[in-house]
Amino acid sequence: MNKLLDAIKVFYHKLGSYPWFYSISSKLLPIASILAFLFFVIGIIWGIFYSPSDAIQGDIYRIIYMHVPAASVAQSIYFALAIAGFVYVVWKMKMAGLFIKAMAPIGASFTLLALVSGAIWGQPTWGTWWVWDARLTSTLVLLLFYLAIIGLYSSFDNKKSADQAVSILAMVGAINLPIIKKSVDWWNTLHQPSSIRVFEESTISSEMLFPLLVCILAFYLIVFVFGLMAMRAEIATREMNKDWFKKIVINND
């Protein structure tokens, strides 16, 4: 037990160092990207060409294989940002600040994808592009939070203060997000439009569920790869004048 704790401690301290992360991520990246690519191709092809078409919606439901993974990833990234913010505020681990900086644009782009693909899906199935439904509204608010984080970060010249500010905002936003979700949910029950029932309770058949699960897994892997790449690029911008980074760049090729 103690050994495990020690190992975690060592890993944590290593995680705080840029050179260690840069070298380990360059080893991890090829494997992770191959896995992500494989799962993505399998999931998408399985979902779009080989899964049965829906009895009511026909083929249009296949948007689910891109929409649901994007929405799930968007929320998870925000959760991760909040944890990183907590880590940065409490332990001043510089990698956590870098993580927020690198992941926020990725999260924002996936949130946007979830919103737009939802709108494109909604147009033929419900007849409107947009409904003020609880889930849609809280996703829109999530996008606003991402944009606020990106905007706040870019307004600072000093990276250290930027990390600190963004960490505080990510934490407060994460505390507030469940409250927003609850209040939007509750507001939605008051204003329920009678004609449109957006999310009916439905069970998904396993033939559709398995490709969906593969797609979700693929999106998480893709985000992992993109996150590593974005963090490496951010490390490069922060450390471009350091000796260790120059050495790696020159020795590599």
């Binding site: 606003l144 606020a148 706040l152 307004s155 505080i168 936003g173 927003i180 509750w186």
Partner: protein
Amino acid sequence: MSFLKNFFSREVLIYSKKSSNVISPVIFFLICITFFPLAVSNDPNELSKLAPGLIWICILLAGMLSIQTIFKEDYDDGSLDLFYVRGFSMLEVVLVKIFVNWIFTALPLILLSCSMVFLLYFPVDKLFNLIGSLFLGTLIISFFGALAGALSLGKNSILASAIMLPLSLPVLILGSSASTYSNENITFFILLLSALLFFSVPIISLACVGAIRLHYE
């Protein structure tokens, strides 16, 4: 205790000397409210239906103006710097500043929104709900605004609003519903709003302290 008292009177003195901080949200609020009937409709039925939402949105937008002033002037002239260096308790500084700002910018708006009974045909029997929810809601908004202002000290003002407005969404929903729906449910909304207030005061004020500190690192 004497520090709190002195600081409180200092803040009150500043706000009473500089009246533009107090007047500009009021003017903004009145202009907004006046323009809505001109742009939407002058039908009393429609207006009284829209009134709670309009009042709340205008309050929120006016709050956007007033949050700029909470820390900005003290930051610009360096007195915030001095408080920090001399080791004053930043938590007390933050709390007093937010509270005084609320007294001088939000209270006039709350009093003014009583006049919406005439201007927007707001139903008189729900006035008590409106005022009660405004009291609690503007306090919460002040806290969120202070955090946004502290994070974006010395930056452009759009950023502060972009941080504050999404945070205050629950207040907007709860507050406007409290002033829309029937009188029997008012305790429910008031309880929810005060829960939100008690929940956010310690967290947001601590976050504010952290946000101010990061400008002096």
